[in-house]
């Protein structure tokens, strides 16, 4: 291994560990790693910006963030939760089952962090009035949000990275990961129900008056913006579904990143005096975090470290497709439960691309589904496994419900294990049917 490779590995590991320790803001860590890599000469600035930063991923995330910012500003999330709770007649047991399914569904198309920020807060508020234990509900919501995120290209950042870097579309994810994720979600909510249904209710007087008098429509802060946001969201999803067909048949370059960017910018144009407020809500820190990581992982790719790792994996698992696919999924799951799943997914995108170039290994697509399911779902295992977990855990703590690592893991690990077992079976079935 040459000096460049040693430096690239050292900077990557330093960045990875510093992100995991959470002592310094992770955006600052990833950007510092990138700057250090440029400083020691492993990559040139031009190379970093033109070859390794994957602008398609950044663009798609920016577009989705814009639409989510509009929906948040208009009061969409509160409205959605209140409508669902009202439909369920404010029955805690029904809320316990249906709210996680709603967070799973929303997170398939939206940033799960924003979904969980609102749902954790709203679940706490409902639990306060209806006297139920919010903790098992919030943990199940997080688990299903992460599982739901696995089902589409835009559901979770690792999917955006894997899909766009390796050339898999929104429809590919829906067709191949969608059914597996739905079954995994049903398995996880089943486990959650068995675990906590008898201990859900707390004592005390239930105060339904505030809820019965509450009109969900009051949560909509701006009806025009609400319609615009919802319209833009549906257009983005429609574009994601049809963009490949439009590109090939009509020869209009409607790429995946443009799918949310076009409706996103259309609302910014039509947003009037709300435009600045919407722009302020976009999570620029995450975009910078990604840009830094692209450079840090790019150092490993350029210096041949990724290629060496891919060769090693391919040699160990040659002609053992199921073993390789299962190992990729479980390794991704365990890694994602311990450290942030974004740098992991990014490194794995390069690794599986290099593995796929060898003889006696499975197709790239099935490896993409394995890594995607593992990274998205494995993060459930600990309170820090994914950003949605961190936000939900901290929001509950702020409201006086300290979940604690042991209770989180006690609730989340069985749900996660069942979900992952279902995914592993799904992957085995796909290999057997040669449907990937």
């Amino acid at each position: 291994m040459g000096l460049s490779a040693v430096l690239a590995v050292a900077i990557f590991l330093g960045t990875y560990v510093a992100i995991g320790m959470e002592k310094i803001n992770r955006t600052i860590v990833s950007m510092s790693g990138a700057i250090l890599l440029l400083l020691v000469g492993v990559l040139s600035l031009k190379e970093a910006v033109t070859t390794y930063v994957h602008w398609e991923t950044v663009g798609l995330l920016f577009g989705m963030f814009t639409i989510i910012a509009v929906l948040s500003e208009a009061g969409f999330f509160t409205y959605m939760a209140l409508v669902v709770a009202k439909k369920l007649d404010y029955n805690p047991l029904r809320i316990f089952v249906v709210f996680p399914l709603v967070t799973g569904f929303l997170s398939a198309f939206m940033d799960s962090i924003t979904v969980m920020l609102f749902f954790a807060t709203l679940t706490y508020e409902l639990s306060r009035l209806l006297k139920f234990d919010a903790i098992p509900v919030v943990v199940a919501e997080v688990c299903l949000a992460n599982i739901g995120g696995a089902s589409t290209l835009v559901g979770d950042p690792p999917n955006v990275i894997l899909g766009l870097m390796l050339g898999f579309s929104f429809n590919d994810f829906v067709i191949h990961n969608g059914p597996t994720a739905v079954l995994a979600a049903l398995g996880a909510i089943g486990v959650a129900y068995v675990q906590s249904r008898k201990r859900l209710m707390l004592g005390g007087t239930v105060d339904r008056n505030v809820l019965v008098a509450m009109d969900p429509a009051k949560a909509i802060k701006d009806a025009r913006l609400f319609k615009l946001g919802l319209g833009a969201f549906l257009v983005a999803i429609l574009f994601l579904v049809i963009h490949a067909w439009v590109e090939h048949t009509l020869h209009i370059p409607l790429t995946a990143p443009l799918s949310p960017l076009i409706p996103g910018f259309a609302i910014l144009i039509l947003g009037g005096n709300k435009t600045e407020e919407i722009l302020r809500k976009i999570d620029y820190d995450v975009l910078l975090f990604f840009i830094g990581l692209f450079v840090v992982v790019g150092g490993l790719e350029k210096t041949g470290v990724i290629k060496a790792l891919a060769d090693f994996i391919a040699n160990v698992f040659r002609h053992q497709d199921l073993a390789l696919v299962s190992t990729l999924m479980w390794f991704s799951a365990v890694s994602s439960a311990i450290v942030d799943n974004v740098p992991f997914a990014l490194s794995m995108a390069y690794v599986i691309k290099d593995i796929a170039g060898q003889v006696g290994v499975p197709a790239l697509s099935i490896m993409v589904w394995a890594v995607s399911l593992g990274t998205d779902i494995g993060g459930n295992g600990t309170p820090i496994g994914a950003s949605a977990n961190v936000v939900a855990y901290a929001a509950m703590e702020k409201h006086g419900h300290r979940i604690g690592w042991s209770r989180w893991m006690w609730l989340a690990i069985p749900q996660t294990l069942v979900a992952l077992l279902i995914c592993n079976l799904g992957l085995a079935l796909k290999l057997w049917l040669r449907f990937y």
């Binding site: 959470e22 508020e125 306060r128 999570d283 901290a394 300290r402």
Partner: protein, 150 residues
């Protein structure tokens, strides 16, 4: 005698209030209830800033003030029901450090808190906040065992 009751909205803290009052009812005490809002995680604070107005809107819809104040208000109400008038205080930061700072600032004679608060009720060990307060408090500390009948 000045007594500080530390609360966090948990069942254990509620038991500590009741038990503490039962033991101290006739001692002529001057009571204060304190709730410490834990420091908010940096990442949550980031997302809360992005969606600040909408989150405040939820609190408004559900008709209550900030959670910290609410816990202290409820605890004061509970003490009133138990026959004790109290002053309420809310601090923000690390719970153990803030309780210790309040004990020093308020010159209390006795501190009442639960053995384990909003954390795991099943865990029989002393909670980390209770442990730290017990170790470092410049006053006597009454730790009420959460879930115990005596």
């Amino acid at each position: 005698m000045r007594v500080l009751f530390c609360v966090d909205g948990s069942e254990g803290a509620d038991q500590a209030l009741a038990r503490g009052v039962a033991w101290l009812r006739n001692a002529g005490i001057q009571a204060v209830v304190l709730h410490v809002i834990p420091e908010v995680d940096e990442r949550l604070r980031h997302y809360e800033r992005l969606h600040e107005a909408e989150l405040s809107e939820i609190e408004r819809l559900f008709g209550h003030e900030g959670h910290g104040l609410e816990v202290a208000v409820q605890a004061r109400e509970r003490l009133k029901q138990l026959g004790l008038e109290a002053e309420r205080k809310v601090r923000e930061g690390d719970p153990a450090a803030e309780i210790l700072a309040e004990i020093r600032d308020g010159r209390y004679d006795l501190v009442v808190l639960a053995s384990d608060g909003a954390g795991s009720v099943e865990d029989p060990r002393l909670g980390s906040v209770a442990e730290q307060v017990l170790r470092d408090a410049p006053a006597s500390v009454l730790v009420v065992r959460a879930g115990a009948s005596r």
